[in-house]
């Protein structure tokens, strides 16, 4: 198990002081809160039929990426992420603050690899028609690939674009590895702040879910939700997820750093833990989540749970078993409203937890099966869960600052 605990000295307290969200529902915090209150869901079951996706809500990228030239250099996932990162910096009151940005840590959880579908198809058709020699692919790729496409494919170029557009340059680290990358990005950012290795960090992720090449990767494993939409808890026994487009970024900083600049916190990020179960036997995921829960510390009263449960099986059934063994806490599955945003799902969960705590209420349940229950109690702490569709388990404890 990976733990943020430091034995060196009293760890520094870490606050979430900035949140940036752009998704299929909306962009910005008020619009998201409103969409959640209305139990809104934005799905498209036509454009990628039979696959269902959650398409990005209309967004004016100019608001955060002023130069059209910069926008042109990016593919959709980078534009979404750079946009959400800008919102987070705005939210923290740090946009344009060169002194802080020049020493701000950045950890991005990224996928990447957007392909030129037409070029791929042309190569494959050449080969299928038997009129292509072994080197024909060279000619196609040399002539047809846009030179700058590579930079839109490289995983670390979301961070690179955020540095260019927003000036975050203290450090630039990109973690890869699907859902777990999102967990570890937040875990390492917190560990660095808690240990005094850093004062302030920008952490987050983004995905463009409206991509056939991305759908293909998950189609190999039969993970795509098909034909018609269903909420996360209603997908068993077959299971599956609908990819979502979106980005979620957080500004996390030490309490001392935040107070010194008069920043107002949304919530405290108290702990992040993660593990890798090799998932050999039924019950392995449940057991791993149980261990993470214990290491997170016993929950106090008024605890809620926000989970990034994917809907993929058996992971979601095992997570459900874990949740059922810890009853009495209202649960919210972000996948129902946002779709599965992969690396972004865990930062998104933390963002919604911090937002809920700062607004003194958990957003409504959105689950016809009744597994998610309504609550009128004001949450004091929210546990965020991320169990990957194939690998990776993580949890975070987010607490209210009174």
């Amino acid at each position: 198990m990976s733990d943020t605990a430091s034995t060196a000295k009293q760890p520094a307290e870490a606050w979430i002081t900035g949140i940036g969200l752009a998704s299929s529902l909306a962009e910005g915090l008020d619009a998201h809160w409103q969409a959640l209150a209305e139990r809104r869901i934005n799905v498209d079951d036509k454009s990628f039929a039979p696959c269902v996706v959650h398409p990005l809500a209309p967004i004016s990228f100019d608001q955060q990426i002023a130069k059209k030239g910069d926008q042109r250099q990016m593919e959709a996932w980078q534009r979404i992420g750079t946009y959400a990162a800008g919102l987070a910096l705005d939210s923290a009151g740090l946009k344009g603050n060169k002194d802080v940005l020049s020493r701000m840590d950045m950890i991005v959880a990224a996928g990447g690899g957007e392909r030129d579908l037409a070029v791929d198809a042309a190569v494959l058709n050449d080969q299928a028609k038997g009129n292509a020699g072994p080197a024909a692919i060279n000619e196609r790729l040399m002539n047809d690939l846009r030179p700058t496409l590579f930079l839109a494919q490289l995983s670390n170029l979301l961070a690179g674009n955020i540095a260019i557009v927003h000036g975050v340059t203290g450090s630039s680290r990109t973690f890869m590895g699907e859902e777990a990358a999102g967990v570890d990005a937040v875990r390492i950012a917190l560990a660095r702040i808690a240990a005094g290795q850093s004062d302030v960090a920008l952490v987050g992720a983004a995905q463009n879910g409206e991509r056939k090449d991305q759908l293909l990767l998950y189609e190999f494993g039969d993970y795509n939700l098909k034909d018609s939409y269903a909420p996360v808890w209603q997908r068993a026994p077959k299971g599956g997820f609908a990819l979502g487009s979106g980005g979620a970024f957080l500004v996390i900083e030490s309490r001392a750093h935040a107070e010194a600049r008069g920043a107002k916190p949304f919530a405290r990020l108290s702990k992040v833990v993660a593990d890798l179960s090799h998932r050999k036997a039924p019950g392995d995921i449940t057991a791993t989540l149980d261990r993470l829960w214990t290491s997170l510390g016993a929950p106090k009263s008024n605890t809620a749970i926000i989970t990034g449960a994917t809907g993929a099986e058996p992971a979601t059934a095992e997570e459900r078993a874990f949740l059922q063994s810890h009853p009495g806490m209202p649960v919210r599955a972000t996948g129902t409203m946002f779709g599965h945003i992969m690396e972004t799902q865990f930062p998104l969960g933390i963002a919604l937890a911090a937002l809920s705590l700062s607004r003194g209420a958990l957003f409504p349940a959105n689950d016809p099966t009744g597994f998610e229950t309504e609550t009128t109690e004001q949450p004091n702490q929210i546990v965020v869960i991320g169990a990957g569709h194939w690998r990776g388990e993580g949890m975070a404890l987010v607490e209210a600052i009174n």
């Binding site: 696959c51 494919q153 490289l154 690179g160 560990a191 056939k212 194939w390």
Partner: protein
């Protein structure tokens, strides 16, 4: 027993195991002997047809067979081999039970042509092939192995299971600085007291047609294909680009006290790590060199060393006109009048640019430099560039007294990372 700390009160991070594989060969011994003999591992590409390509040279690792070839499978196999050597040298833990986390620098994974071609065959008939057709045949479990293979986390998942590392393994990319970043993450975890040991691995098996073409389209690669051994010319006036290469490096990092307590041999110490991102451009460095200068200074500050205390620089030295010029600007600004008298050599002249693996491969070569007190040369240095008056240790290895090495790594996307390594813990 009092804990040994550095001058900032942090645990000291020792290296107790190393493993390396490059186009020069497998293992520390073969690599070191060829590196100090000034041999090149670069060759004309035979793995795939190179018709119509401007660049036909690379540092492929052809003596490790992967069938069918994918870059991800090769990268994974190279990582396995380097890690086996490192853990064996370290003697830490037991087989399949490494007592600490994994930090893996790995090229971004994506579904490769082998997969698309198999799918296209499954579509069959005269049907037009597009992604809708591929999606129609992709499911049903027949190609489930492609999902496992082409997940970004797949190589780390394999290594974590094989070597029994603890916790959630981190796969990272900071482009051509990735190997250095993996080491930095390990150093930080040990300094935080989270763990007494960390496995830092960096690997790259990227030489396939599309990857080569991508770099070629950015005009990053040398086109001086003949003879291939002379293609990589860091710091020379006639340099014209880097040469793609494959390899892996693995390091076992340990808290010095824990390593000594179990009687491990200390191979070296990572005394400082620095990083700083560049916001100027996606592929070019800021013309004022400030991010590189800041990165180098951050590494010195993290180590608590003055520039005067560095006596060898293992350069990033890719052999692109841009990189080498900017690296000179950065180093000469920090090291001032002393610059011409510091040996600065580039391993890439011999092994090419091992991309995601380079930072770790070159950190290992830096540690071997400290162990053997011998500096590997920069080969193919026949036409000095008057704009870069480094002592590049031209063409022949040199015996020298070396106590502290700086190893630099810079990458696309404004990535800069520097490590400082010593043979012994610094006294303070």
């Amino acid at each position: 027993m009092t804990a040994t700390r550095d001058k900032f009160g942090r645990p000291i991070v020792a290296v107790t195991g190393m493993g390396v594989i490059t186009s020069l060969g497998a293992g520390l011994a073969e690599n070191w002997s060829k590196l100090t003999a000034g041999q090149s591992g670069l060759s004309t590409i035979t793995r795939f047809p190179t018709d119509g390509l401007k660049t036909t040279v690379a540092g492929t690792v052809d003596f490790v067979a992967v069938d069918p070839f994918t870059s991800t499978d090769l990268g994974e196999r190279l990582a396995d081999l380097a890690t086996e050597e490192a853990i064996s040298q370290s003697g830490i833990g037991s087989k399949g039970d490494f007592p600490g986390p994994l930090f893996l620098a790995v090229a971004p994974v994506e579904t490769e042509w082998t997969a698309r071609e198999q799918l296209a065959k499954a579509v069959g008939g005269d049907a037009e092939i597009d992604y809708d057709a591929l999606l129609r045949v992709g499911g049903g479990g027949r190609f489930a192995h492609f999902h496992r293979r082409f997940l970004f986390g797949s190589v780390a998942d394999h290594l974590a299971e094989t070597f029994g590392t603890k916790g959630s393994p981190i796969s990272l990319s900071t482009a051509c600085a990735s190997g250095a970043s993996a080491i930095q993450l390990g150093v930080e975890a040990i300094r935080r007291g989270e763990t007494d040991a960390a496995l830092c691995v960096a690997t790259d098996g990227s030489v396939n047609a599309e990857a080569l073409i991508r770099f070629s389209l950015l005009s990053a690669l040398s086109t001086q294909n003949d003879p291939p051994q002379a293609a990589s010319k860091p710091f020379a006036k006639n340099r014209d680009g880097f040469v793609m290469a494959e390899g892996a490096g693995a390091l076992v990092l340990e808290n010095l006290d824990a390593a000594k307590a179990r009687g491990a041999k200390i191979l070296g110490v990572i005394v400082g790590c620095g990083e700083l991102a560049d916001s100027f451009h996606r592929t070019r460095s800021s013309p004022d060199g400030k991010p590189i200068i800041g990165c180098v200074r951050n590494a010195l500050a993290d180590a608590g060393l003055a520039p005067e205390q560095i006596d060898y620089i293992n350069a990033h030295g890719t052999g692109t006109p841009e990189n080498d010029k900017m690296e000179y600007l950065g180093i000469s600004t920090v090291f001032g009048d002393r610059t011409p008298s510091i040996p600065v050599s580039s391993n890439k002249s011999m092994v090419g640019h091992t991309l995601s693996a380079a930072g770790a491969v070159e950190a290992i070569f830096s540690l071997l430099t400290l162990e053997h007190q011998r500096i590997p040369p920069t080969i193919n240095y026949d036409v000095p560039d008057p704009a870069i008056p480094f002592d590049v240790v031209p063409n022949k290895a040199r015996d020298a007294r070396v106590t502290a090495v700086m190893s630099n790594s810079f990458g696309f996307g404004g990535q800069n990372a520097s490590l400082i390594l010593t043979r012994e813990p610094l006294s303070h």
